[in-house]
């Protein structure tokens, strides 16, 4: 009876496989939409944690080169302000937007082109240097739909920037396409008595670094060992065998001292007796050497 059931089930399964028209057949075009990055395609989340999250909707700034290329170029601008002045454009960042198969988007290959200072800006910057004021920059918090929720602002004392030219260093902390924060400053140190120093060249040398979040180390799990239980018990790590001296030095040193003490005493004793007895008995000192031990024996 059972075998018949199994056979029937097998046949049914086979027929389903062989004659798909029996069951439901999807008319969906079977294209690996993940790879081609079709818009609006269902985005599968991989079971593994992914470094980037929350794919925002793509925006008109995104240009698609071809269906096969999931990268696209984007640009976003850097604004600057001198002290309390309003922000004005100072340069543009350009990067490639990489869309990952799991739907996340990250920026790669960040490039930065700085507009050189106009004369007016140079003047403003000189004033900043004189008054030891802040040079401020800002970035949009979302690179796809600037300015996003708010601008990311960062400032540095203007006197930190001039070296040969003007050295600046950007560390942009990203979260997908969102800019979290930007660390802006000079690449080297800028310690407190900041001296007034005008740059010799009015050109910027910029370094940019893009940073994403790191994964935290996992807590060590010793569960296997605990399960392994008994076998592990035998493998208790033996403490390395220490030398005889390392083990017993605390006993050996006093022992040595006592022995030495005894020897010196034994050496001194005859002399003492000799010196003590010479005047009294008037015997030659040579005899004392022989008598030493005997007198010791007598005393005991």
């Amino acid at each position: 009876m059972k075998t018949i059931q199994v056979i029937v089930a097998f046949i049914l399964a086979l027929s389903l496989l062989l004659f798909p028209s029996f069951g439901f057949q999807s008319d969906e075009l079977l294209v690996d939409d993940e790879e081609f990055g079709l818009e609006g395609a269902p985005q599968y989340r991989s079971p593994e944690p992914i470094p980037t999250r929350s794919p925002p909707l793509t925006t008109p700034t995104r240009k698609r080169h071809s269906d096969l290329d999931s990268d696209s170029k984007i640009q976003f601008s850097l604004d600057h302000a001198f002290g309390d002045s309003d922000f004005s454009p100072a340069g543009t960042f350009s990067a490639r937007l990489k869309t990952w198969s799991h739907g996340g988007q990250t920026l790669t290959k960040l490039r930065f082109s700085r507009n050189s200072f106009t004369d007016e800006e140079k003047e403003k910057f000189k004033n900043l240097l004189k008054s030891d004021d802040f040079y401020r920059i800002r970035l949009p918090s979302n690179v796809l739909s600037p300015p996003g929720r708010d601008f990311i602002i960062s400032s540095v004392k203007a006197r930190c920037l001039p070296r040969e030219g003007l050295d600046e260093h950007f560390v942009i902390h990203m979260e997908g396409v969102n800019v979290l924060a930007v660390n802006y400053g000079s690449p080297g140190s800028c310690s407190y008595p900041r001296n007034l120093k005008l740059p010799t060249k009015w050109s910027f040398s910029s370094h940019t670094v893009l940073k994403n979040s790191e994964q935290a180390p996992r807590a060590p799990i010793f569960a296997e060992e605990i399960l392994g239980g008994e076998s592990g018990e035998g493998e208790v790590v033996q403490p390395p065998e220490r030398s005889f001296w390392a083990k017993y030095w605390m006993y050996l040193i006093p022992l040595g001292l006592i022995v030495m003490n005894a020897i010196t005493q034994a050496m001194n004793m005859p002399e003492e007796q000799a010196t003590g007895q010479v005047p009294a008995q008037g015997q030659p000192s040579a005899g004392a050497v022989q008598r030493g031990p005997t007198s010791a024996v007598r005393r005991r």
């Binding site: 929720r149 990311i152 560390v171 979040s213 935290a216």
Partner: protein, 985 residues
């Protein structure tokens, strides 16, 4: 052989005396620690005073505590802390042996055994919609020989059996938008009335048969004027309400199921209009009270809707509920304030003019007004009725009044501490003996004889008890002067009631208490809320004659843009030196690291409009401030917005009113967390007064690591917005925890790391160059604790001795936040068994002593965990050198050693915070844990290496010295003899 056995014995003796002590011995409990139990502000009290057995009162409080108190002394018989979400709605005593409590918005009904507080049963009640919850324990109502409790909650009336908590019947009131006001039991029948309002202008009355829950009658009547708030029950079939304007009194009678309204404008009763009235809820037959501005009026209901004002008073008045004393008679208590006295009057409900009792009691001004009154009667020795009242004061204290005196009082305001700081005690002056140390020579000798007996193990059990009590009482520790070791201090605590307490660290007694006038309700400040305490003036070098003072910051209401109040209190006397009602609001208070010539600390207050205000407002302060103007940076965390901003001062305020203490600010940097993926749940900085002993850490292989020690580091933890709820509501894939270390001057993110599959709540503590934080790991289904240590690499190449000798190092170069930081971080995660309520770290005077984490566990205890367990450099097989350094082999979870509970066997119920204060003695730190209870102890994380402990065996030392001296003599005599013999030879 004999020598060997002797040696072994000697060694054993030596080892036993040197054995490290991690925990306390039984007889050391209470020596350096104290524990105080409180219950909080009493909401409701039920007396249980049968002729036999102990007289007790059962109370429920605003801290969600239910407690049974001894009516004779006010001690706690038993108590249960129900937790912050389990708010108690009503309590009563049923069957004479069960305490019934209704809590959690009417969803949990519990019965507790009255004598010992054991829970008898618990039942969960549900219903169709949210509503007011009411508890009624009817007298003489039985269903099949079962006494019942009637509970109205979630729009449903439940009859619950008293014996087992089973729901006998239930009746829904879901169809109507009923706002229930009262559940009334009809005397001498099984009828229950439910009265309430519907659609704000409809009065509804339901008559229900209590034996089976059948609806007998439903009447409703409309009143166009609408209703306002509370009602007062004047008889079992009449209630009094106010119309929505508060100017017309409505007497609603529903006798025999017929509703009839009687409207009487208040202006008919009193000539002068005093503004809108409020009903004081009470249930005295025939009488009710209304309050108009500061005037309280008692009004008697005379028959058919006639009202008569019996008393009008402008003293602060409180009324108790009615207490049936004999057949048909009800008494109630009335308390009125008159200057420094309160007048207690007990009257019969139907006889206003006659007084059963009239007493005046002198009342401490620092207790404020009477908030609640509960009355109870007893039979006097002459068979007449006597009355006692339990009163709850403005400062949340609880007092029992009987025979014109305060029988006992409890300082239950201390159950709701908001903030704590410490203050030094005065220096002992010459010739001023503050405490009488010993009474006379005989006592002194006796004490020392006893102690000697104890050390020589000759003491009898009685003697041991006497020694123990002597040790505990030790008048030294509760002296009112500063001690050499800095163990004696004042703990200044601000409570929710707006009262400031000074507790002595020696034994926890209250040195002074002061109800802050600035936190008193007034015209200008309607709902004052205490916020924080700051050290305002700590006399130090050149201002020794001044008393230290604290700054109490409060604001006038819950919103952020409401004006703030500052008050300054002398910590020696408890006098309020002054108070300021500010024109601006207070969002942030920044104590600056500068003090003026009188040691007053400069404080910067940031208001909601982002202006900075400098206090104290003196020319000297502004002078000091101008000097450091450009070096002041601060940050603000906008939790709800997900933005952290850095600020700096700009210039003087440009308002219409010239104010030279007001400054404009500007934004320096900002960090914007993407709102769809991150939400701030915790931010922690280092304690501003923390002392770090060394910048470097010598590691195993004679290498040096430099700690990155900056006061401007901020730890921030964010979680996925989805995962901000309870544990278990999201899958590990949807939740993550990101932690950041941020420099608050430049807004630089120094470290950023993501824990996937983890979620909050996050508790964190920041000290020196490390952060320890606690969170839940969804993948491992366990709590985890992680540590991040941050090291400075820019100075790592200073290890060369020659560089140091030749001065080619950068150790003395100033450190600036504007320099590019070269830091490395080390981190490690460990599993931890408990969830946390609080976390703190020990702090010592010089920061030399190793640190311990103080973990407030979910069981309301404080656990001390060595920081060494949370060392990121722990490895599975540490090398010999690392072992010598003190690195513990890596384990996956942190050990919980039962002996390392700081609170030993005690619990700090409702634990909310742990603070540590350094003592002058480097090895010791003072720990204060507060919640509903208070606990204080001294802690020595590396043991007391710099002083002899209490249990140091002086006798052994003495015996050794004596034995040595004797031995010297003996050997001397022997050698003399021998010499003589030698000479005689």
């Amino acid at each position: 052989m004999a020598i060997r056995s002797f040696l072994i014995l000697f060694l054993l003796f030596f080892l036993s005396s040197l054995h490290p002590i991690l925990s306390l011995y039984e007889d050391q409990v209470g020596l350096m620690d104290w524990h105080e139990q409180y219950i909080g502000k009493v909401k409701q009290a039920v007396f249980h005073t049968h002729k036999t057995g102990r007289k007790r009162v059962v109370v429920s409080t605003e801290e969600n505590v239910i407690a049974s108190l001894d009516l004779r002394h006010g001690e706690i018989f038993w108590r249960h802390v129900l937790g912050p979400t389990d708010v108690i709605d009503g309590i009563d005593v049923a069957l004479g042996k069960y305490v019934i409590t209704l809590s959690s918005g009417g969803s949990v009904l519990r019965a507790w055994n009255l004598p010992d507080g054991q829970m008898v049963w618990e039942s969960t009640l549900q219903g169709p919609k949210h509503s007011k919850s009411l508890l009624l324990v009817p007298t003489n109502l039985k269903i099949e020989k079962d006494n019942v409790v009637l509970v109205f909650s979630y729009g449903r009336l439940n009859a619950v059996s008293c014996t087992d908590g089973e729901v006998l019947w239930k009746k829904d009131f879901e169809a109507e938008s009923l706002e229930v006001q009262q559940v009334i039991q009809c005397p001498s029948s099984d009828l229950v009335y439910i009265v309430g309002f519907a659609a704000s202008s409809q009065f509804e009355m339901y008559q229900i048969d209590a034996s089976n829950g059948e609806l007998l009658k439903h009447e409703s009547a409309a009143f166009s004027g609408g209703f306002l708030g509370e009602v007062s029950l004047v008889s079992s079939e009449t209630i009094v309400a106010l119309d929505s304007t508060g100017s017309i009194l409505l007497t609603i009678s529903f006798r025999n199921g017929k509703i009839s309204f009687q409207q009487i404008p208040i202006s008919n009763l009193v000539e002068d209009s005093l503004g809108p009235a409020v009903i004081i809820p009470s249930s005295v037959t025939g009488i009710f009270a209304i309050k108009m501005n500061a005037i309280t009026m008692f009004i008697r209901v005379m028959g058919e809707g006639k009202l008569e004002v019996v008393e009008k008073t402008n003293h602060e008045t409180s009324v108790s509920d009615a207490l049936p004393i004999s057949e048909g008679q009800q008494a109630f208590a009335l308390i009125q304030h008159a200057g420094s006295e309160i007048h207690l009057t007990v009257k019969l409900a139907h006889d206003w003019d006659g007084n059963l009792l009239k007493e005046s009691i002198k009342m401490d001004q620092q207790r404020g007004l009477v908030h609640r009154v509960f009355i109870n009667n007893y039979i006097r020795t002459d068979r007449s009725y006597g009355f006692r009242v339990l009163i709850v004061m403005e400062d949340h204290s609880l007092l029992l009044l009987q025979q014109g005196a305060i029988v006992w009082s409890r300082e239950d305001g201390l159950a709701s501490i908001i903030d704590v700081t410490t203050s030094e005690l005065p220096v002992e002056k010459d010739g001023v003996s503050v405490a009488k140390v010993e009474h006379n020579l005989f006592e002194w000798l006796k004490g020392h004889m006893l102690k000697l007996k104890g050390t020589l193990m000759l003491a009898s059990p009685e003697d041991i008890a006497a020694i123990q009590s002597m040790r505990l009482k030790g008048s030294e520790k509760s002296k009112m002067t500063r001690d050499h070791n800095g163990f004696r201090k004042l703990l200044i605590a601000l409570t929710k009631a707006g009262k400031l307490f000074a507790l002595h660290t020696g034994d926890g007694h209250i040195v002074w208490s002061h109800l802050l006038q600035s936190l008193h309700k007034s015209e200008a400040c309607q709902h004052p809320i205490g916020l924080n305490l700051y050290q305002w003036q700590v006399p130090h070098h050149h201002a020794m004659d001044e008393n230290p003072s604290v700054l109490v910051v409060s604001k006038c209401g819950p919103s952020s843009d409401i004006s703030g109040v500052l008050s300054f209190v002398d910590t020696y006397t408890g006098k309020e030196l002054g108070s300021l009602t500010l024109v601006h609001s207070i969002v942030q208070v920044i104590p600056l690291p500068y003090t003026d010539s009188t040691e007053q600390r400069l404080h910067l207050l940031i208001d909601a409009d982002k202006h900075a205000h400098l206090y104290p407002k003196t020319p000297e302060a502004i002078d000091i401030f101008q000097h450091e103007f450009s070096n002041i940076y601060w940050y603000s965390v906008e939790d709800d917005n997900g933005i952290i901003k850095g600020h700096v001062l700009k210039s003087k305020c440009t308002g219409e009113v010239a104010d030279e203490f007001c400054f404009d600010t500007r934004e320096l940097w900002s960090i914007v967390f993407p709102s769809e993926s991150e939400m701030i749940i915790a931010s922690v900085t280092r304690k501003s007064n923390e002392v770090v002993h060394t910048q470097s850490k010598v590691i195993a292989d004679q290498d040096v690591m430099y700690k990155y020690i900056s006061r401007n580091l901020l730890f921030v933890a964010t979680v996925a917005p989805k995962a901000s709820g309870k544990i278990g509501c999201v899958t590990p894939e949807e939740s993550w925890l990101v932690v950041y270390l941020i420099d608050t001057v430049t807004g630089r993110i120094l470290h950023r790391v993501t824990h996937h599959g983890s979620q909050g709540p996050v508790h964190a503590v920041f000290s020196e160059n490390w952060v320890v934080y606690h969170y839940f790991n969804l993948r491992a289904h366990r709590y985890e604790m992680s540590v991040i240590e941050i090291y400075d690499q820019s100075r790592a190449d200073n290890k060369d001795v020659w560089k140091l000798v030749l001065g080619k190092h950068n150790l003395t170069s100033p450190i600036s936040s504007y320099s590019q930081p070269e830091v490395i971080t080390k981190s490690q995660s460990y599993f931890f068994t408990h969830s946390l309520k609080a976390i703190a770290v020990t702090s010592t005077a010089k920061g030399i002593t190793s640190k311990q984490l103080l973990i407030g566990t979910v069981g309301d205890q404080v656990l001390a965990l060595d920081k060494r367990f949370l060392d990121p450099r722990r490895s599975v097989n540490p090398t010999q050198a690392e072992k010598e350094e003190g690195i513990i082999p890596l384990t996956d979870s942190l050990p919980i050693i039962p002996q390392s509970y700081v609170t030993h066997s005690l619990k700090v119920e409702g634990l909310r915070g742990v603070i540590t204060v350094p003592a002058k003695l480097e090895s010791t730190t003072l720990v204060f844990a507060y919640g509903v209870d208070l606990f204080f102890t001294q802690l020595a994380p590396s043991r007391t290496y710099d002083s002899l402990t209490e249990d140091f065996s002086y006798a052994l030392l003495l015996i050794t010295i004596v034995a040595l001296v004797a031995a010297i003599f003996v050997t001397w005599i022997l050698s003399e003899k021998k010499e003589l013999q030698e000479k005689w030879r």
